[in-house]
């Protein structure tokens, strides 16, 4: 599964980067997105959902950041 590492990237650049990275994979494929706690984990999942991607799960890692799993939606 492709991992899109957006740790250390702030809003809204992280969302734009996620969007660009997701263009590289096919609809229906899953990807993991790493996000910082705080604003990123609040904003990015919601925006990706609004773009039509299917959020599959979110978990906090031992290092404190978040791993969001999603399935790429149709364009």
């Amino acid at each position: 599964m492709p991992v899109i590492d957006l740790r250390g990237v702030s809003c809204p650049t992280n969302f734009v980067k996620a969007k660009l990275a997701l263009e590289e994979i096919e609809a229906g494929e899953t990807a993991q997105i790493l996000l910082d706690d705080g604003e990123p984990v609040k904003n990015v999942p919601r925006s990706l959902k609004a773009e039509g991607h299917k959020l599959l799960g979110l978990r906090q890692t031992d290092e404190g950041h978040y791993a969001l799993e999603l399935e790429k939606g149709e364009d």
Binding site: K49, L56, L58
Partner: protein
């Protein structure tokens, strides 16, 4: 036949609607144009620019309540300006003891936070109530699309704030925890069964949980406007207080009319007084009772008077 030398023949009806404000200089006025909700079509903007260039100064002013003000207008040009702008499509704004042009944020149309169509509400109020005489003082209305409330709705005589009340379908929940993470007031926590636990009290009705939930486990139970009444700013600021919740969007105009009815009646013999000060004098219960007759489902059981803001300069007796 019209005279060759243009006489100062001014149609005083144009002045009655207000929006013509005397400036410092001789013969010069500001013409305040009506921009309900701050939305202006591009062709209209071009037309205004044309008129401003022809009759006004070197700039226009964007007023604090979203109107465009033409500056340095000679009063002799009032009629021709009103005509060129097309009274029907670009009316000048009001002054005095009237319902003012409503202010609104972008609302839900393109703004990701918006929960209600503030632009539609602002247009409706502008169409139906703009310029209505209150008999007492100015009357300002504002619409915020969500509880973040960028337009500061509670500093208006009647302030509306879009809201939704969330409900949870536990079965649909995939236990991702995003809702709890997103809920800033912490109305949602994750329970021992790894499903969200909702507490009513801290919830501000922002709808973030509904927006973020990947499984559509959160949905809206109610949607409408949170209504605060009695606010104003200026020399003696008041913040309006809660009178109604989840007011349906289509009842906004009627609701404001109901408030106006009470204001007109209760302020009788009180002179030039804002609604908030009337509520402080009469007590908020009187207005609640009046509203409850028409809005039993929306009027809150009890409230507090508009809140006085201490400005710390010019001590009030």
């Amino acid at each position: 036949m019209p005279e060759t030398q243009q006489p100062a023949k001014i149609d005083l009806n144009n002045l009655k609607s207000g929006g013509f404000i005397k400036e410092r200089g001789k013969d010069l006025f500001t013409v305040r144009l009506r921009v309900p909700g701050g939305r202006m079509s591009v062709p209209r903007l071009k037309k205004i620019a044309e008129v401003a260039e022809k009759y006004g100064g070197e700039f226009v002013h964007l007023s604090v309540r979203q109107s465009i003000e033409l500056i340095n207008i000679n009063f002799r040009n009032f009629d021709v300006i009103v005509e060129e702008l097309g009274e029907a499509t670009q009316k000048v704004a009001s002054c005095g003891a009237r319902v003012r042009v409503p202010v609104a944020c972008g609302g839900c149309e393109y703004n990701p936070n918006g929960l209600v169509d503030t632009q539609k509400s602002a247009l409706e109020v502008d169409e139906k109530l703009f310029g209505a005489a209150t008999g007492h003082h100015k009357f300002k209305v504002a619409f915020a699309g969500c509880p973040f409330d960028c337009p500061k709705s509670a500093t208006n005589d009647v302030g509306f704030q879009g809201a939704i009340y969330p409900q949870l379908d536990k079965e649909a929940c995939i236990s991702c925890g995003l809702c709890a993470k997103n809920c800033v007031p912490k109305a949602i926590t994750m329970g021992k069964d790894n499903k969200p636990v909702f507490e009513d009290k801290p919830c501000i009705w922002c709808g973030d949980c509904v927006k973020v939930c990947p499984a559509s486990a959160w949905s809206e139970k109610r949607r409408g406007y949170t209504v605060r009444i009695g606010g104003k700013w200026g020399r003696n600021p008041l913040v309006g207080t809660l009178f109604a919740t989840f007011l349906p969007e289509e009842r906004v105009v009627d609701f404001i009319s109901t408030v106006l009815e009470w204001y007109k009646e209760r302020a009788e013999s009180l002179g030039r007084i804002r609604l908030g000060d009337v509520i402080i004098k009469e007590g908020p219960q009187a207005l609640l009772d009046h509203l409850r007759k028409r809005y039993p489902e929306n009027t809150v059981a009890a409230t507090i008077p508009p809140q006085v803001i201490e400005t710390q300069v010019g001590i009030r007796s």
